[in-house]
Symmetry: none
DNA sequence: GGTTCTAGAACC
DNA sequence: GGTTCTAGAACC
């Protein structure tokens, strides 16, 4: 037996537990908060509010419905109804706890770009410590202004380096693409590249 | 007067309305569901459950808290507290309905690349350079230095625009190249594109 | 432009 | 591995 059968991810065990516990206590309460769906191949959160406030904290370290959803997506669950919070996963079925151990987090593909070229890198702005500062009013002196300008210039220089690096990568990538194209096109295929001058790529 | 002052995005008007309405009715109910924060430069959803069930449908076409959050992010709001659903935006302030018209959706580029192939698009927040020029006159000593810094600053900005333009061109070219490749390659040709997962390009 | 579903990424 | 905040993208 493979190690897969060892131990299911805690998130899945807990979610499964939660559904089983609700099933047992079902008779006692009039209102169903969460349950297996009819076919037993998925589950429905009938009352997100109660679910978040009452059940999530019992099993997880939060009461945040979005966080629960995020985890479901991480493990590959799909929302399968448009007007209900119903989720399904091939291996998440009533009565099949053993299948949980076969479920895995989706791994996020490592990016081909270095981190500073990735979409989010532009969001890492140095904190604006000088904006709300009382010292602005107090010392509208040129000293502060000088500092700010210097800071901004430094930032602009950094940005320029980043942009130039991006361009370098684009050039590399395009060379590769052109090489690839040349291997696969028997004849010149200028028709599909109306805007590209090969000479400009080096 | 520019067209900016015409008409704020409906989402923002409605959210502002919602807060004003709650403010008026505040005395009648014991429980605050949503309100401006103390400083009036943001707001807090105190009870997400009630907010979603009772208020969202009154103003929007859904009762989905996540959808509301998604809209806030689209318009550039930031969540500003870790244990509260508090959101702020520079231009979303109590008593300043006129500022709403200056707010805009963040635009997102349409999609040809998987996100990891898309270098960071222009998300730059150019810092405020508009200091009152009087302070410059006051500091006669560093006037020259200031001028030089400002000049350099201006130059760096111009360069940035150019570089970003170049990148835009590269993006366009790469899209064309990839389209072209997809027309001419019957089978995946991984050998010539070590950095690119072909499957994601079609 | 709004709503929904899912994912990226940082942080814990 | 879990939790949080935000964004991409499809669909309406």
């Amino acid at each position: 037996m493979s190690r897969k059968s060892k131990c299911p991810p805690p998130f899945l065990s807990k979610t499964y537990d939660l559904l089983e516990e609700e099933r047992e206590g079902e008779a006692s309460v009039g209102k169903k908060i969460v349950s297996w769906n009819m076919e037993g191949n998925g589950f429905v959160v009938w009352c997100p509010a109660e679910f978040s406030e009452l059940m999530l904290p019992k099993y997880f370290k939060h009461n945040n419905f979005s966080s629960f959803i995020r985890q479901l997506n991480t493990y590959g669950f799909k929302k399968t109804a448009s007007k209900r919070w119903e989720f399904q996963h091939e291996k998440f079925r009533r009565g099949c706890r053993h299948l949980l151990a076969e479920m895995r987090r989706k791994k996020c593909q490592p990016s081909v770009f270095p981190s500073y070229l990735r979409p989010n890198s532009a969001h890492h702005h140095p904190p604006n410590t000088h904006q709300d500062n009382k010292s602005i009013a107090a010392a509208a002196s040129s000293e502060v202004l000088l500092m700010e300008l210097k800071e901004e210039n430094k930032k602009l220089r950094r940005e320029r380096v980043d942009l130039e690096l991006q361009i370098a990568h684009f050039k590399t990538m395009q060379i590769k693409l052109l090489e690839c194209l040349s291997h696969h096109t028997p004849t010149p295929t200028l028709h599909c590249l109306p805007l590209i001058s090969i000479n400009n790529l080096t």
